[in-house]
């Protein structure tokens, strides 16, 4: 029934099957929209947030999803910016469309979640009108919205490549023109994304009265600024590769050459190794010098099963050192099971990092006579989170079905 919309020469599942899938995702999105609507209507008192936990699930998922969406800007940077000097990166052309779609979804989703987090959502435009130039959050808000616009511009020509839309001359010419100037947008996105990934790290790092989060730094930027950029570009490509692999598994078709995953493996291995070395140095300096200067021991920051040392071990060793070491070896990258498991660990590690810098930083008592608090998100926080994931899956499904996301798909899966 929708054959006319499906790209030429590729096979897709029957429409009824696809419709069922879309319905399932739409139901989850509907659930999230209902929960989000309740948050906007009844206010954030329906969440698990309180005066101890000003930030919680919403900020954690925002930070994590933006880091994982960094594949968009970084793949674009490598492809449009560096492939002329390093031809190996030209291979990324096979996955650049997917990375743009993922980036677009991660950023637009994060903006909606950010809106729910506000006590006064009707005043969401105030940061543009009364900006505090000293606040890292101002930088985040400006860069995220600008980058979401850039991603929309980057996504537009992909949509215009749909068979039916492309048949319209005006749309075809417009799409082609956008393609011609895409390098400019990709590099603009790189610039914006670099700053807001960093300023998201700065949001925690500048809290000089919160010893768990505070870091010294360079000029106005705390070290977390640079660590967040590095961790985002070390995990974003892994997330893109995982989604691509997931699409291959679900569709039962090969979408990119194996060499693309191998290249992603090398990129992630290099960046993750670099990041994890710096992260270890940062952690040691924090634990041995910075925190003690405020009167804190490392043991003051960890407690019990909820906020225990397992978070530190999980983030740095299991989800940092292990994937970096495995991916650095050609054997590790050659084995699909190992490669994708390490990508998963990488993404989990970055999510743990964003969680501890948000929630654990607040759970840790600062005043000596203060107490530990536990934060439990409510259904009004979980539901928009699940809806965000469903939204990403839905738009990727629609894009995969109706848009030529993978330029090599036709050759890799000839229809007999």
């Amino acid at each position: 029934m929708d054959k006319a919309l499906i790209p030429d020469g590729v096979k897709r599942c029957p429409l009824p099957v696809f419709s069922l899938w879309v319905l399932l995702l739409a139901a989850i999105i509907g659930w999230g929209v209902w929960a989000g609507g309740m948050v906007l209507y009844k206010a954030v008192n329906v969440t698990g947030l309180n005066d101890y936990f000003g930030f919680g699930f919403y900020i954690t998922i925002d930070l994590a999803i933006i880091a994982l969406g960094a594949g968009a800007f970084f793949t674009g940077f490598l492809y449009y910016g560096l492939s002329r000097f390093f031809p190996a990166f030209a291979e990324l052309s096979k996955v650049i469309n997917l990375s743009v779609v993922i980036g677009f979804l991660c950023y637009t989703g994060a903006i909606v979640i950010l809106l729910l987090e506000l006590g006064q959502p009707m005043r969401a435009w105030f940061p543009y009108w009364h900006p505090n130039v000293h606040s890292m959050l101002t930088e985040v808000i400006f860069c995220i919205t600008c980058y979401a616009m850039v991603l929309t511009i980057e996504y537009a020509p992909i949509i215009l490549e749909n068979r039916k839309i492309n048949a319209v001359r005006g749309a075809r010419v417009f799409g082609h023109t956008l393609h011609e100037v895409m390098a400019i947008f990709a590099l603009t996105g790189t610039f914006l994304s670099f700053f807001h990934q960093g300023s998201l790290g700065g949001v925690a790092g500048v809290l000089f009265a919160r010893p768990f989060a505070f870091r010294t730094g360079f000029f106005i930027w705390p070290w977390t600024f640079f660590l967040f950029v590095l961790s985002a570009i070390a995990s974003g490509p892994a997330f893109t590769a995982l989604i691509c692999r997931g699409l291959e598994k679900i569709s039962g078709r090969q979408l990119v050459d194996r060499s693309v995953y191998d290249l992603f493996g090398k990129i992630v291995a290099t960046l993750l190794s670099f990041y994890i070395v710096l992260k270890i140095i940062d952690t040691l300096y924090w634990a041995l010098v910075l925190a003690p200067s405020f009167g804190f021991k490392l043991t003051d920051f960890y407690l019990g099963p909820v906020y225990g040392f397992w978070l530190l071990v999980g983030e740095i060793i299991i989800c940092g050192i292990v994937p970096a070491v495995v991916l650095l070896t050609p054997k590790g990258r050659a084995n699909n099971g190992l490669l994708f498991s390490m990508f998963i660990l990488d993404c989990i590690g970055i999510t743990i990092n964003r969680y501890v810098m948000t929630v654990q930083a607040l759970a840790t008592p600062v005043m000596p006579f203060d107490r530990w608090e536990i934060y439990i998100p409510t259904i009004y926080e979980w539901a928009p989170g699940f809806a965000l994931i469903a939204y990403i899956m839905l738009v990727i499904s629609l894009s995969y079905r109706y848009l030529p996301l993978f330029p090599r798909e036709k050759e890799l899966n000839p229809i007999r």
Binding site: A43, V44, D51, S135, I141, F208, F294, G295
Partner: protein
Amino acid sequence: MVIDLDKCTGCTACSVACQAENNVSFLPDESNKVRSISWMEIYQLQNGKEYPDYQFTYLPRPCMHCNAPHHSPCTFVCPVNATRRDESNGIVSHIYPRCIGCRYCMVACPYHARKFNWWDPSWPKSMEAMLSPEVSPRMRGVVEKCTFCHHRLLAARAKAYLDGADLNKVTYLPACAEACPTKAISFGNLLDPDSEVARLSKDQRAFRILEKLQTEPKVYYLSKYQWVHKLGDKGL
């Protein structure tokens, strides 16, 4: 502000006076203490020893109006300039109609001095007639905090203007200091070397909470007990 913990009986008169003076609202269910709004919170500190060595003291905690260089921890982070430190008098204030409720300032404050309005403000019917016309109530979704009864400063300055006196030399008492039956709370200009607070802040018994964080609190505490000093700043 200087609070003498040796004199404090923990009667909470300061907290109640603050609540009444500043139109601090009540929650639909006050059993949830991590959402209760209180600008002057009273902590009970214990020395952790067994009887007969057991000791305790009360510690009232208003906003510290941190004097850290350039910015207080909270004013520094607000994305919309809704919270500012007035450099002429050192008071950290909050502009409620501008606050977007992002709670970043609460996250930045290690003293839990900032409270969020999780619900629309409400008071028992019988108390509505007692609301102060001097202080605007805060709407749902914004942060609020102790202002050192800033409106009293404005009133004192207005009176000085009418009297032809020097506006910069006015003195006033916040509601908490006025209500304290044991006169444990002193208030004045720390920059004036002749003021009582300046003298008390240099007392041997004086300490500040979390001084090591370099937030430079403008609230000093007095206690003759070393264990209280130690509890005030980690690792002393």
